[in-house]
């Protein structure tokens, strides 16, 4: 796989999705970068903003299998990962494992915060280990595997906020904003016509193999040690009481309960590499890092009660951190 080929395929996929999704170009690109980096994405936005459509379009464009799970309070883990059913084969009755919806390349976990923690945790192993253990048997997931979860920031009654351990497993958290009037007009034009257009398939044949090569290429992108150190400083600056973090930003000390984990730094580096490839470069620049800091860290910086009371968000904290951490 050549960097130019990567860029070409990526651009085609991006273009196909943009045929369906109005605007949200940044979200589309970040979701694709996360996919080629091997991560999962948490989409947060109000209902009706095209989250599900985005995931569907993505699966179509990539030519991968797609499953959707609507998370509800009564959803059980077996409903996701699968269960054993009694089946009769050639006159012999036997328990067979029936795979759940998680066994797909792309899984949409819609309104994931409405399921109980027990059910939420059922996807943890699949997200990190790319495998599922049921009834003592481990079943590997088919690669590429990506979970795109959505959560609704309103109607929080009866919801179960995702625990930090699960949040940390998401590569990016992308907020889906409401469309502008012009975008809304375009949405109306596209969705109220009789000939609704779906995203075309870019990688029809041998998609998993191509995607695997693209994922490998992304990890080979060069990054200079000073830039790695910059990422380390950024992540370290999110720690309010980290070791030797005497120079923590005042806002971090006041509003942050827990800082970003090492997964945050990994996400920044891989995301920056993906961004560099998309930009046609084989090395990471500071701009690549800056473009992925917010989606990679905003869900990993856990705010305290004072921050919630004063309506201080993680993005504001990250903004002050980026401003205070020197690049050199």
């Amino acid at each position: 796989m050549d960097p130019l080929e990567f860029k070409e395929i990526f651009s085609r996929i991006e273009a196909e999705i943009k045929e369906v999704i109005v605007d949200h170009a940044d979200i589309i690109r970040k979701a694709l970068v996360a996919f080629f980096a091997g991560g999962h994405v948490l989409l947060e936005g109000a209902p009706g903003l095209g989250k599900t459509l985005l995931v569907k379009s993505l699966s179509r464009a990539l030519g991968l299998s797609f499953k959707r799970v609507q998370f509800t309070p009564d959803l059980m883990p077996a409903d996701i990962i699968g269960t054993q059913v009694l089946s009769e084969t050639a006159g012999r009755r036997d328990f067979q494992f029936k795979q759940g919806p998680i066994f797909a390349h792309l899984v949409l976990a819609d309104e994931i915060n409405r399921a109980t923690p027990k059910t939420q945790s059922a996807v943890l192993e699949a997200m990190e280990e790319r495998q599922v253990t049921a009834f003592g048997v481990t079943y590997p997931m088919e690669l590429p595997f990506m979970i795109l979860a959505t959560q609704n920031p309103i109607e929080l009654e009866g919801t179960y906020p995702l625990p930090e351990a699960q949040l940390d497993r998401f590569f990016f958290k992308l907020p889906v904003q409401a469309p502008t009037p012009a975008e809304l007009t375009e949405i109306l034009h596209r969705t109220t016509r009789p000939d609704q257009q779906d995203a075309g398939c870019v990688l029809a044949e041998g998609a998993p193999a191509v995607i695997a090569r693209m994922q490998l290429l992304l990890r080979q992108v060069l990054i200079a040690p000073p830039l790695e150190q910059y990422v380390v400083r950024l992540v370290h600056a999110t720690q309010p009481n980290g070791r030797a973090n005497n120079g923590a930003v005042e806002q971090v000390k006041n509003y942050v309960r827990y800082g970003a984990s090492p997964r945050g730094a990994q996400s920044i580096i891989l995301g920056a590499k993906g961004n560099a490839l998309v930009e046609g470069r084989v090395h990471v620049s500071y701009e690549d890092i800056a473009s992925v800091v917010y989606p990679a860290l905003r869900h990993r910086v856990i705010m305290n009660f004072q921050a919630e009371a004063e309506n201080v968000g993680a993005d504001a904290i990250l903004e002050s951190i980026i401003a205070s951490v020197p690049r050199e």
Binding site: P3, Q220, L222, A224, P226, L227, V282, H283, V284, E328
Partner: protein
């Protein structure tokens, strides 16, 4: 810089260029202070304040210090390869291509590095060293230049104005002394000599040794004149004052003279020990020797053995084993002219007390010694009083030796005397009236032509008989 240069070469060239610029900036930062220091040293050399050796040593030390500081400053500011790469990226909008190339080494796919190098080489063509990295002076260099100029100006002004600030300037002192002497016609010739010496001192091109010699000559002339006048019995007050003035000019605290390595013996002896010795001058023996032109012996006589003073004093061969030290000290004291005694008497009390203590220890049991010692103390006190300006009386030169007759040469005014009337055993005093007792005590008070010690001086407890309270009733 060649346009086709490889990015690695460009980074190295840029680093060398930046290093040279940093070295120049560091050197420029320290060159003005170096030149200023050299100027001051050379200036001091030109006006004979420093010798050639000192100039060479100081100049070399300043040069070495400047070189070391320049090296240290350069070491801190020398650009690394990474800094050069960053600057190259910054100037060429290289998006960290040069930084990556400078730091990544061979860690990465070869085709990626090759491609990155190709891209960087294309971008390197945009860089023009002269245009993008010209030599720029620092604000610190300008500050250094200003500070060095200010230091030179301040030094120059201070050098010009310092003599006016300090009344102890040697030429001014000598001129003032000459003016004082010129008021008396009989000292006109001496005044002219000293005035000429003052004129000579004003020449800054004089070497330090020459200045010393001039001051020493002036002092010697006055000393000789004092001795001559004393022999004739004339008034030497104005001569003493003039000599004191010149002596003050030679003091080390005088800023203009402090740089001169003066070798005047009495100037270097104004420490606490000197004060202690000075307290013993009142015994008169040293002064007597001064008058008689003899040295040695000093006050060791009559003190260690309690014998009559004067016999051993005048015979150095009869000194005891403790006496040589005294003899040396006495010689030193005897070198001092009279006008210097007051200086010595102004020394610390501790020194005085030490002197007294040592003198008392050496005095022994002899009565004469006691009296001598006390007289010495009293003389000091008078000296103190004179120095403070409360009395203008002149202290007689020495005490009369026991059984010494007053002759024509030794007039009464030249001898110190103390009349002590020992209390008589008076049986009536126990039952006498208060008036009678007061009369007795008044009669018993010692009289002298030298100031006596205060009766409450704890050092002189023998003069005061404390009466225990329990005996008062018995006496009454």
């Amino acid at each position: 810089m060649s346009l086709s240069a490889a990015p690695d070469e460009l980074i190295d060239s840029l680093r060398r260029r930046l290093a040279a610029q940093a070295l120049w900036r560091s050197a420029l930062f320290f060159i003005p202070p170096l030149l200023a220091a050299w100027y001051i040293v050379f200036f001091l050399y030109c006006f004979a304040w420093l010798g050639p050796d000192a100039v060479m040593a100081t100049g070399a030390a300043v040069l070495i210090a400047a070189a070391a500081l320049t090296g240290a400053r350069f070491h801190r500011r020398a650009p690394s390869r990474l800094v050069a790469a960053r600057l190259a990226d910054e100037k060429s909008n290289g998006e960290e291509r040069f930084v990556t190339l400078a730091t990544i080494g061979d860690a990465g796919p070869a085709e990626f590095i090759s491609r990155l190098r190709t891209e960087a080489a294309a971008i390197a063509r945009r860089i023009n060293f002269r245009r993008d990295f010209p030599f720029r002076g620092e604000r610190a260099v300008l500050n250094s230049l200003i500070a060095a100029l200010a230091a030179v100006i301040v030094f120059q002004l201070a050098f010009e104005w310092l003599p006016a600030w300090t009344p102890a300037a040697p030429d001014a002192k000598l001129a003032a002394a000459a003016n004082r002497l010129a008021q008396a016609t009989r000292f006109a010739d001496l005044a002219a000599d000293i005035s000429a010496a003052a004129q000579k001192l004003r020449q800054r091109s004089l070497a330090a040794e020459e200045k010393q010699a001039i001051v020493r000559d002036a002092l010697n002339k006055i000393e000789e004149r004092i001795a001559a006048e004393k022999k004739r019995g004339g008034d030497v007050a104005s001569l003493d004052a003039a000599a004191r003035q010149i002596n003050e000019a030679a003091k080390p605290e005088s800023p203009s003279m402090s740089l001169l390595p003066l070798r005047l013996p009495w100037v270097t002896r104004g420490d606490g020990a000197g004060g202690g010795e000075g307290s013993g001058q009142g015994d008169g023996s040293g002064a007597a020797q001064k008058l008689e032109g003899k040295g040695g012996g000093g006050k060791g006589t009559g003190r260690s053995k309690g014998e009559a003073s004067g016999t051993k004093t005048l015979d150095p061969s009869r000194q005891t084993k403790d006496e040589p030290q005294f003899a040396v000290q006495s010689e030193k004291r005897l070198e001092r002219p009279d006008y210097l005694r007051q200086d010595a008497l102004k020394q610390k009390d501790g020194g005085d007390k030490e002197g007294r203590k040592s003198a008392g220890e050496k005095n022994g049991d002899g009565k004469g010694g006691d009296i001598n010692y006390r007289a010495g103390v009293n003389t000091e006190r008078k000296g103190d009083t004179e120095a403070s300006g409360t009395s203008g009386e002149k202290t007689p030169a020495r005490l009369a030796a026991p059984e010494e007759k007053i002759s024509e040469q030794l007039k009464e005014k030249d001898l110190r005397y103390v009349i002590v009337q020992l209390p008589e055993v008076d049986t009536d005093s126990a039952s006498g009236s208060r008036e009678a007792q007061r009369g007795k005590s008044r009669q018993a008070a010692p009289s002298a032509n030298v100031p006596l010690a205060r009766p409450d001086d704890p050092q002189l407890a023998g003069e005061k008989q404390m009466l225990p309270l329990e005996y008062r009733g018995l006496i009454r």
